[in-house]
Amino acid sequence: MLSDQDRRIIKELQNGLPLASRPYQIIGFRLKMSEEELINRVSHLIKNGVIRRLGAAVRHQDLGFKANAMVVWDVPDDKICEVGGNMAGFREVTHCYQRPRQANWPYNLFTMVHGHSRGECARIAEKIAQAVGMNKYDLLFSTAELKKISMRYFE
């Protein structure tokens, strides 16, 4: 369970780290904690997985990764763990999730693939398909970003 103090720490960290010499001292001061107490608590929240990581979120489109495809796969249910694990091993795959099939939707494994062009994304998908032995898949290229923000918790 998260304490009230943990929630306050999370709210501070989602607002951003101060751009100053001692950022944790500044946040600690706001929360009436010492720099050391704050660092220890954040370290604990990272260890137990509440904080996934600390650092920068970048706009990858601006860094040359112009194309992204959601590659969706129809994988036999009894193979999903094996195939999902294999796909996660590809460095071009940034996200890999199992999601439920629906009446109009046969795909149960979702991967995000980033490349410098559409052709590159398609080649990556083909390479993965061959490596894991799965051939029922589709690529959904994004054509517009309508919203992208960071989630704000406890507000």
């Binding site: 951003g16 650092g55 970048v58 999902g84 970003e145 919203k147 989630m151």
Partner: protein, 150 residues
């Protein structure tokens, strides 16, 4: 956007190994052979030109007790703006992309409870008149990598 070699090294470092120690910017500077002041001014300019969206914590929404899902819907080309306005007005919608598929609008929604998430989806259906929304919550996470090698 113009970045030099030091910016790229700096971005790589602060995406993955941001120090949790009293003087993180000085430590980063030491690793890159530049001063703490220069680290701070480079980060400031990459934030102001939008290359860095945010410098802070990235959280596991499930561990915070939140519920989230991916959703997809079929939206007529002429109604994209209007439907996007309904979807995007909810603060828990963090991503919304148009994709080339008959399901062409794909968004993620995060809410403090399952009930609020269901309520949001019902509201989108009601306010847009589009009754079919694919609701595709993650059942198992195999990988999430949010840093990019530069």
């Amino acid at each position: 956007m113009k970045t030099d070699q030091i910016d790229r090294k700096l971005l790589n470092l602060i995406q993955t190994d941001f120090p949790l120690s009293p003087e993180p910017y000085r430590e980063i500077g030491e690793a890159l052979g530049i001063s703490e002041e220069e680290v701070l001014s480079r980060i400031r300019s990459m934030i102001s030109n939008g290359l860095i969206r945010r410098l802070g914590g990235i959280f596991d929404s499930k561990m915070l007790g939140y519920h989230s899902t991916l959703c997809a819907m079929q939206v007529d080309q002429r109604r994209i703006d209007e439907v996007a306005a309904v979807v995007n007005s909810y603060p828990g919608v963090t991503h919304n992309y148009l994709r080339e598929h008959e399901y062409n609008m794909w968004f993620t929604a995060t809410a403090p409870s399952k009930e609020e998430l269901d309520e949001f989806i019902a509201r989108v259906k009601r306010d847009t008149g589009i009754n079919e929304i694919l609701v595709l919550p993650a059942q198992k996470l195999f990988k999430i990598r949010v840093n990019f090698d530069l």
